[in-house]
Every structure is written in structure tokens, then in C-alpha cells.
């Protein structure tokens, strides 16, 4: 359970995702999809209940779970006043990843030529690509994506599909476009009012 004041954003949600699964979380606005991802990303503490990521109980063992998780949120979680490369170097330092991997990550999302540009100058789609590079920089075992297709052009969507198709990773995606993930997702979990809809 997760409460914001009197309102329960997640209430009795029961969900188990196995290793290597690709789960789509769907539901109307306000259903609790973003809150669920933020709890799993260890950004929000659950108010009650049992939450485990990679076998680590949250929030008690959040420090063990965090290295396992890559999180793509609504926003890119990057500083507009820094260049793309500087942003990734910052996150590389926070995740203990060698700086040498930053160039490879930029290359992977097609931003190698724009690595020296300020993120403030990026389009929404480019910022979203950078967010994907940031989330995958430390090769997480669990990738959490909140509306990842929003703002992406056709090339960006192809790139996203390529990244999500990479094996050996558990993926949980919150989306209003479940059809787009056909062929990738193994399970769809509709949620409503903070719990799995019947």
C-alpha cells in the first residue's frame, strides 16, 4: 500500500513478476501505475505491505535493490543545463560505472554526435533517448519505464523496441499503448484504483 495523505494510490495491489518477464501495467490515469513504478524504483516508500525487488525487501534493503534497477520516468531525470555527456557522467559516478561506458551509451541511443550539446536544447524525443541511455547505463537487471513511447518519433520507437528486446532483463512498463508492445510483453496487468483489476 502507498498513501498520499488520506488517499491510497496503491491499495492491496498483489503482483509478482518473475525474472526475465516483460510486464505491461495498464489502466486509466490515476490508477496508480506511476506510484507503483516509483515504489519499485525505491523513490517512494511503501506505506504498508511487502515489496521486494530482486529478493530485497523495501525499504529496509533499498540500498541493495537500487543497483539492480533502471528507471525511465515521465521526465528525463537529467539536468537541462548540463550536456548529454555530462549528465551521463554524473549518473556513471552515482552508479559506480566507468566513464568509458558513457560514449557507448550515447552511441547506443544515437546521440553520440550530440553528446556535447546541452539537454535544454534537446527535443522531447532526444531527451527521452537520453533517459533510456541513463537508465540502461549500469546494465540493470530490472528496467522500469513510465510511458516510454511518449514523445518518441518513429526512429526513437524503433530504438526503444531494440533496447527492450535485449534478453536477460526483467521489464515493467506502464503504458496507455499496450498494442505497441505486442511481441515483447509476456504479461499485461490492468490496474484500477490502486489494485489489480479483476
Amino acid at each position: 500500500m502507498r498513501r498520499f495523505g488520506e488517499r491510497a494510490a496503491l491499495d492491496g495491489l498483489d503482483l509478482r513478476v518473475g525474472e526475465g518477464e516483460f510486464v505491461l501495467v495498464t489502466g486509466p490515469n490515476g490508477a496508480g501505475k506511476t506510484t507503483l513504478l516509483r515504489v519499485l524504483a525505491t523513490v517512494l516508500r511503501p506505506s504498508a505491505g511487502d515489496v521486494r525487488v530482486g529478493g530485497h525487501e523495501l525499504p529496509r534493503a533499498a540500498h541493495r535493490a537500487r543497483p539492480l534497477v533502471g528507471y525511465v520516468a515521465h521526465g528525463p531525470l537529467t539536468y537541462p543545463g548540463l550536456t548529454a555527456r555530462e549528465n551521463l557522467e554524473l549518473y556513471a559516478a552515482l552508479y559506480g560505472v566507468p566513464d568509458g561506458l558513457v560514449g557507448r551509451a550515447l552511441d547506443r541511443v544515437g546521440l553520440d554526435a550530440r553528446g556535447g550539446d546541452l539537454v535544454a536544447e534537446f527535443s522531447r524525443g532526444m531527451a527521452q533517448r537520453l533517459a533510456l541511455a541513463r537508465a540502461c547505463l549500469h546494465a540493470p537487471a530490472l528496467l522500469l519505464l513510465d510511458e516510454p513511447t511518449a514523445g518518441l518519433d518513429a526512429d526513437g520507437r524503433d530504438l526503444l523496441r531494440e533496447v527492450l528486446a535485449e534478453p536477460g532483463r526483467t521489464v515493467i512498463v506502464s503504458t496507455h499503448e499496450p498494442g505497441w508492445f505486442a511481441g515483447l510483453a509476456t504479461t499485461e496487468v490492468p490496474i484500477r484504483d490502486g489494485r489489480v483489476a479483476a
Binding site: A73, L77, G81, Y91, A93
Partner: protein, 227 residues
Amino acid sequence: MSRRALVALVRKDLVLELRGSEVVLAMVAFVVASFVLFRFGLGGGRPAGGTRAATGMLWVAIVFTAMLALTRSFAREREHGIWDGLLAAPIDRALLWLARACSTCIFLVAVQVVALPAFWLFFLQDGPAPDYGVLVAAVLLADVGIAALGSLVAGLASAGRAREVLLPVLFLPFAIPLVLGAVSATTGTISPQTSGLHTLERLGYLGLYDTVFVLFGWGLFEFVVED
């Protein structure tokens, strides 16, 4: 504690400040304008309370100036939604506080490079020179206290909707002992200078204040940033 992460976080703050000039220039303008207002408010002369009143004005101006930086502290992360990215990183969250305290301290020192000579020019230019060594030690110790307390309170205030209101309400009461210590230590550096023991006592008081709020900052920030 990851030294690399700490250095990266501080460097990020400095790079953003060098590119955007959001904070330090505003702080310099504010503190110098405060001195000008004090000067005219006093009719262009030395304050009636002598050196102690003058150093009191100095530290009140510096504390209010620091609030400019503290109000913006963590605002960028909140406004651009970067906060979740930092909280999700596998680092001790106290490191976020420590990095912000270090950058705030650096900003304060940069401001004081201009503010202290301006202060002497406005209020104490006809007096004797201070003991520079003790003055620098007192100023640095006071800066550490302001940065440690301020970054903790700024983290707490940034979560609220009325952070500009919340910050001074939370920060100023806890800053009173620091201002008292800083005024006393700074006054002691100006003739008639106090004995070495008194000087050590005053610096020790500031050091104790710093220790308390560094421990509070390190220990409490994790809980302060929880939504």
C-alpha cells in the same frame, strides 16, 4: 561513502552555476546592497555599537544572503523532476546533502571574497587591521555551519509547496546561535584583540555548532527527503 559520486555532484553544481550564474552573482549584489542600505541607514557613519554592532550587521547580511542560495537549493531538481533520478541512485542519500552543503559553502566563500573587503570599506576602514588568520578561520567555520544547517533545512523545505516561506521559518531560528558565535569570533579578531584562549573558545563554539549540524545533516537527510 563514494568519493567519486560526491565529487561529481559538487562539480555538477559548480558547472551549472558557472553556466547559469543563477546564485552567486545575485548573492554578491544582495550582500553589497545590504551594506549600502546599512551605511545610509546609519547616516553614513560607524554604527553606534562600535565593532560588535558592525560585525553583527555583517553576519545578519551574510545569513540572509545565504538564504538566496538555499532557496534555490534543490529547486532545480524539484522543478525539472530530477529528484527521482538522484533518489533512485545506489548512493547514501546523505551524500546528496553533503554535496549540496559543499557547493553552498563554496558559493558562500566566493561571495565573501567580495563581501568582506566591501564590509571593511563601508564600516571599519579607519580602524586597525584584523587578525587575518583568525578571521578566515572564523568565517570558514561559520560558513560550514550555515551550509550544513541550510542544506538540511532546504531539503526539507523543497518538498513543500511553500518552500520560499518555509525555508526562513525553519532556518533562521537555528541560525541564531551560529550568528552569535560568528559575531563574537569576528569581533575578537579586531583590535583590541582577545587572548588566544578566548579566540580558541570562540572558534571551538563554532566548531561544535558545525559538528552538531553536520551530524544532524548526515543522519537525518534520508528521512527529510522521503515523500
